[in-house]
Symmetry: C2
Subunit: 247 residues, 2 copies
């Protein structure tokens, strides 16, 4: 080991978003050669049930699968865990007490980043999967910081945002999916949003900042940068939330 901490990625939700976070961690790492990079362990288990369906009570619970994956990461040597899936963050309060290592919170980190990078902004548009919207995770995190969340109409949510995200999950990363999201983002900006969140890990794969008329913040990039900082910090700064026995 080279004195840095090992990053665990609890992935597979979906796989492309996992690959995207890993790629962004690599690019966020100051490195001149292989040996300068960080130790990353990824567990991408596709059998973790659909998080949105579980939260609506329409499918099997996702917690046991999330917990098993987190424990595999801990067993393999991860010093802390990142989860490149916004909706899965709804399970964080239930997950954390069972783990002996901290889990970084992508949603809190993103809301903090809005304040830091766009101090004049008041209204924040949320592009997210319906499961995330239904959990209210970003709404709460933004309101806690005095910001006003805006999200698409139910019709735009279904026809534009969810349709595009389902497309990316099925490996359709073409321009049509990005165009759907750009239309939804444009409507939010017209309604007053000064910043947009690409608050589903599949979105930044097809939607680029140039495609929308307001700054677009990518929570995956925010999480990648937080993970690199945490791995290289002299001491862990993330709260450990350790209540139960470590795996």
């Amino acid at each position: 080991m080279n004195g840095n901490r090992t990053i665990g990625i609890l992935g597979g939700m979906g796989p492309l978003a996992t690959a995207d976070l890993y790629h962004k961690i690599i690019l966020a790492t100051p490195a001149r050669r292989d040996q300068d990079h960080l130790h990353v362990i990824i567990d991408a288990d596709p059998t973790i049930p659909d998080r949105s369906a579980a939260l609506r009570g329409e499918g099997p619970d996702a917690l046991p699968g999330l917990l098993a994956s987190a424990r595999r990461l801990q067993l393999a040597g991860a010093d802390f865990i990142t989860i490149p899936c916004n909706t899965a963050h709804a399970f964080l309060p239930a997950l954390r007490p069972h783990l002996g290592v901290p889990v970084l919170d992508m949603i809190a980190a993103t809301a903090d980043r809005v304040l830091a990078d766009f101090p004049a902004a008041r209204r924040v548009g949320i592009l997210a999967y319906r499961g995330t919207i239904e959990t209210g995770l970003y709404h709460h995190a933004l309101r806690d910081r005095g910001l006003e969340p805006l999200s698409p109409s139910p019709e735009d949510q279904r026809r534009l945002v969810d349709a595009a995200i389902d497309g990316v999950k099925a490996n359709d990363t073409g321009p049509a999916m990005g165009a759907l999201l750009a239309e939804a983002g444009g409507t939010l900006v017209a309604a007053g949003a000064e910043v947009l969140l690409a608050a589903c890990t599949e979105i930044p794969i097809v939607l680029t900042p140039a495609m929308v008329p307001a700054p677009l913040l990518d929570p995956t990039r925010v999480l990648a940068e937080a993970a690199v900082r945490e791995a290289r910090a002299p001491a862990l700064t993330a709260p450990a939330f350790v209540a139960g026995a470590g795996g």
Copy 2:
């Protein structure tokens, strides 16, 4: 688990090549939703010493680090292992007897693929890191199949190929790196190569088929497709080479 096998990726050599293999595994998987994808576990340990230096006797042995990483993958549940690093394949004969799971051979799979996809080709150009060239891994695999390997002059190897690969390892994925590799590939085709191998996992990141005047075969893609086939097959087809006790 969904009846498929779990793919282990022994990565970090370099990290971008690891992300590239994972991305290609996802794209090679027939999937409509997260749950259709394969279980992939990645261990990317940057402290594995430089493989080329180790093989030249100019640096610490890479075998202990490779073995530790393979054992972490096995412990976490990998049913077989893939290694997105050509040079590391020189350690395969030493690695395999210590593992209880098969390791896919990217180099043998690539040479087999040349025969299958380009049956008329006789001369194959090798674009690879100097460590891979020095091991003769591709030279042997091609000659074993009746093909004639061509590799760049020592001057082209240093000035074009190694320089570009070092650039990608340092996160320089811009067009200048691709141009260096395209020049080396063009020279090999002028010397008679009918097919080119992008035989270093960093190369396909910056060199696309359109940039060279002969078909360009990407061993990372060959390995990804082999891994998906192996994970979904009714029974493992890869030879297990199990001689020692499993981890």
